[in-house]
Structures are given as C-alpha cells and as structure tokens.
C-alpha cells in the first residue's frame, strides 16, 4: 500500500517535471539559435516614442532602431536583432546579458561606466528643459533656472532630479519645489490648472505632448541636461563590436544619415552633437 502511495506521488511529480521541461524546450529553440553565432541583440524602450517603441506590428521601432539598422548595414559580420522592453528593464537585461546593446539616449555617468561599456562616438544629444505653457509670458528667452526658485516643478526621478537637487543644495534659502511626478497627462493637466509651474522633460516631449493633449508648450531656460548619448554594451563586450559601432556611427554622421534620422524623428531638429539649444523651444 505504501509503495502505491509513493508511486502515485512520484507519478504526479514526473508529470509536472515533464510539462515544465516541455515548456522549457519551447523556449530553448530561440536560445540555441543565438549561441555560437554573431547575433547581436539590441534593446530599446517599448513606449518611449519617438526614440524607442513597439509599433503597431509589435516590432521595435523609432530613432534608435533606425540608427542601429544603419549601423548594422555597415557591419555585415553581425546579425542584429531588435527588441523593446519596459524602460526600467533595459539596463537590468544588459547586466544579466539578455541583450548586447542598450539603445535609449544613454549619457555617461560614473555609475553606468562602472557597470557597462560605452561606445566612444556620440550619435545624439539628450536635452531636457523646463517646460511651461506657451502663453505664459512670465517665462521667455531671458529665463534662467533661478526664475524657478520657490516654484513647483515636476521631475522624473533620476538625472534631472539629481541636477535640480544639486542646485537646491547650493540655494537652501529658496529652493525649487521638486515634486516627483512622471505621468505626462498629470504634468500637463497640473500645468494648465496651475498646480505646477513647470515640468522637466526632453525637448522632444514639447511637440509630442502638445499634439496629444491639445496644449501649446514651450521649453525655457538653459537645458537641465545637455548630454551626449552613446550606445551601452555589456561590461565585457566584444571590443571588435564596440569598434565596429564607433566606426559606423562616425561614417553615418559624416555622410548625413544620422542627422537626417534626427530630423525625421525629432520634429526637424538635428540633435547630432554638438547641439546648440534655442533659448525658447516651441516645438
């Protein structure tokens, strides 16, 4: 009787294990194709339009993908595969070696450089601005960061917030009131209702949000961040891949491909470094 009980339990376990491995087998086909070949998996964001997003066909698309497709044409020895993931997951996936290249306007920082390998040739510029309503006469081409002292400004945690916090640390008597709010609809809504005086976002958001919400916006003051952008590779990335990308990016800038892609995706603005910002950007 006891043997029968054990047999029953073992049968159940065998079934579960078999099902698990059957499922695992489905996934491993993909993995085996990648092993041993010069496949390079690129990842950008899935919702960061226009730089990286999943299009209606479910394919990775946007400025970053177009640049890397142009790079891939110059590197026939590699087979590029383009993927997209939630923004928070991209660097985690690069750390866990699920992907080979992270492409989403990444600027260099000591923390990132300690964990990843950056390409040497910048292909874009990340420009974040104080964004206010276009008809707000209080802010114009003479506006500086000092004009936001005591004002409520919505920021996304990370680079911009760190910069503003550093400014506040230098001006403890009258700091900028930082609120960590990232949702675009809330930022624009609170700008219209007067709950917020400004929010900080990339310049490319100005025309995009304007079209989505029917509100005219403008970017003012000196950019909060004006960083050169590079592709990010695994820490122990193949040096030949890095050199290949750098060489391709250099040629693509020289032949006008990357500047043309900037204008195509970024409302006719060329963010190829060096980028000169306008005192007031109306999108």
């Amino acid at each position: 009787m006891k043997k029968m009980r054990l047999l029953y339990i073992l049968s159940a376990f065998t079934l579960v294990t078999a099902l698990t491995f059957a499922l695992a087998g489905c996934g491993s086909k993909e993995a085996s194709a990648a092993v041993g070949s010069k496949k390079v998996i690129v990842q950008t964001a899935d919702t960061f339009d226009p730089d990286g997003f999943l299009n209606d066909k479910g394919e990775a698309d946007g400025f970053e993908i177009d640049v890397l497709k142009a790079v891939a044409e110059k590197l026939p020895q590699y087979e590029f595969e383009y993927t997209a993931a939630p923004i928070d997951q991209i660097t985690v996936n690069l750390t866990s070696k699920r992907i080979d290249i992270a492409a989403l306007e990444f600027g260099k920082s000591p923390e990132r450089e300690a964990s990843f390998t950056f390409t040497d040739e910048p292909y874009s510029t990340l420009v974040t601005r104080f964004i206010v309503l276009a008809d707000n006469a209080e802010y114009d081409e003479n506006t500086t960061i000092d004009d936001f002292q005591g004002k409520t400004v919505y920021v996304v945690k990370g680079g911009d917030a760190d910069t503003i916090q550093a400014y506040n640390d230098e001006h403890p008597d009258n700091p900028i009131d930082i609120q960590f709010i990232s949702d675009p609809a809330t930022c624009v809504n609170d700008l219209v209702s007067g709950k917020a005086d400004a929010f900080i976002r990339g310049e490319v958001a100005i025309p995009a949000y304007g079209a989505a919400y029917g509100v005219k916006l403008k970017g003012v003051a000196e950019p909060v961040r004006n960083e050169k952008c590079y592709f990010m590779l695994q820490k122990d990335a193949d040096p030949a891949l890095k050199e290949g990308i750098d060489s391709a990016v250099k040629k693509l800038i020289e032949d006008g491909t990357i500047p043309a892609l900037h204008k195509k995706w970024h409302h006719d603005v060329d963010y190829t470094p060096p980028y000169t910002y306008q005192p007031v950007y109306n999108g």
Partner: protein, 236 residues
C-alpha cells in the same frame, strides 16, 4: 487636437486590447492546470507527511505566502537562468519571458491550491478511506473515486478566489517584458499615445469581463457539485 483625458479613446482602446486576450488566457489556463497538478502533489506530500519533501514544501509555502508576487517573478526571471546555467550549462537567459511567468505563477498559485486541497482532504472522515479499502479498492482508487470528488467540491470556493487573483496577477507579466498580453498592450498603447489612464481603464474593463466569465464558470461547476450533494442527502 487631443485632450488631457479623452473618454472617446476608451472604447477604441478596449477594442484594440482584445488582441491581448489570447496571451492572458494562455497564461491563465497553463498556470491553472499546472498549479492544480503541482498543488495536488504538494497536498499529498503534506498529508502523507513524507520526510524531507514535507519540509521542502513547508518552506516553499512560507516563501510563496510571504513574498510579494512581483518579487517572486523577478527572482524566477533573473535567478533561474543563473541556476540553470550553473547546473546544466544551458543558457536560459534568452528563453521566452512568458515561460518564466508560467513557472513563477505556477509555483505561487500551486501553493495556495495545495492548502485549499489539503484542508479539504483532511476535513473528510478517515472512515471513507477504510470503507474503500474494505471493499478491496487500492489507495489511488479510493483517492480518485471517493476522496478527490468531495475534496474538489469543498475546496472549490477557495480555488475560485485564487484563480481570480491569479488572472489579475497576469498583469505583472509586463514588468519582465511580456508585451502581448492585455496589460502589456495597454501600457504600450497608453505610453505611446500619452493617454495611459484611458488605456488602463480599457484594460480594467477587459479584466472585469474576464473575471466575470470566470466567476460564472465556477458558479456552474459549483452548482453541479452542490446539486449532487442535495440528491445524496435526500436519498439518505
């Protein structure tokens, strides 16, 4: 020109999100079936008090009960490939994220199914086993023909609650890169158009409908079992 909150987008998005239902249902069905099998195995280990396996199951139950679902998902998604590579040499990092979602949710849900079935089986009179053995039935025969039907009936309400919870939890699959289910599609649709709230409302409408259907299915099964019970009690 658009609006900050555009209510007209909700029906449009709801229709677009219908394409996410197959993945959500696939996840739900796979996890439910696997969890029932694994949950039953866990329940038998606990009931039979099998040394070593009992202790392992007890630890697993504590873990699944105490650790948030999203953390369990991350641990499986990022931890399992390291373990697989360590022990088998197979590179699992590129496996479909859907597989890791199925594994993480199966593990989590089976623990709750286990407890529902264990308590149901233990609530039955031990005399029923003895009665079965006395007429020459083997342990599996007694278990499958006599104990299991009653245990399922008793545990059905708890299984229903856990299944409904699991259906909602499938929304977390997006956090590890599954983009073809309802929530994945909603996040992409809303994120790209900057109308995330409208997309979330559309997703909530679909989840409401799916869970409503699930409740009806369980209610039908429940009714069938209870009808059986009433007939039995009338006959007595």
């Amino acid at each position: 020109m658009g609006q900050i909150f555009d209510i007209r987008l909700i029906p449009e998005y709801t229709v677009k999100l219908l394409s996410g239902i197959p993945t959500t249902l696939l996840l739900f069905i796979l996890v439910t079936v696997l969890s029932l099998i694994l949950g039953m195995a866990f329940a038998l280990i606990k009931i039979q008090n099998i040394p070593f396996l009992y202790q392992i199951v007890a630890i697993l139950i504590s873990y699944a009960r105490s650790v948030p679902g999203i953390v369990q998902l991350f641990v499986v998604f990022y931890g399992m490939p390291i373990l697989i590579e360590e022990f088998t040499g197979v590179n699992a990092t590129l496996w479909d994220p859907l597989l890791f979602v199925v594994i993480a949710y199966t593990f989590n849900t089976s623990v709750f199914f286990c407890e529902a079935m264990r308590t149901a089986i233990e609530s039955l009179d031990k005399g029923q086993f003895e009665a079965g053995f006395s007429v020459g039935m083997s342990y599996p025969q007694v278990f499958i023909r006599i104990i299991l039907p009653q245990a399922v009936r008793i545990s059905l309400p708890t299984l229903e609650i856990n299944a409904c919870t699991m259906m909602k939890e499938t929304a977390l699959a997006y956090t590890i890169g599954v983009t073809t289910d309802i929530m994945g599609r909603a996040t992409i649709l809303g994120g790209r158009s900057y109308h995330l709230l409208e997309a979330d409302i559309s997703a909530s409408i679909l989840f409401l409908i799916l869970n409503f259907i699930l409740v009806i299915v369980f209610s039908r099964i429940n009714k069938k079992f209870f009808t059986f019970k009433r007939k039995e009690s009338v006959a007595v």
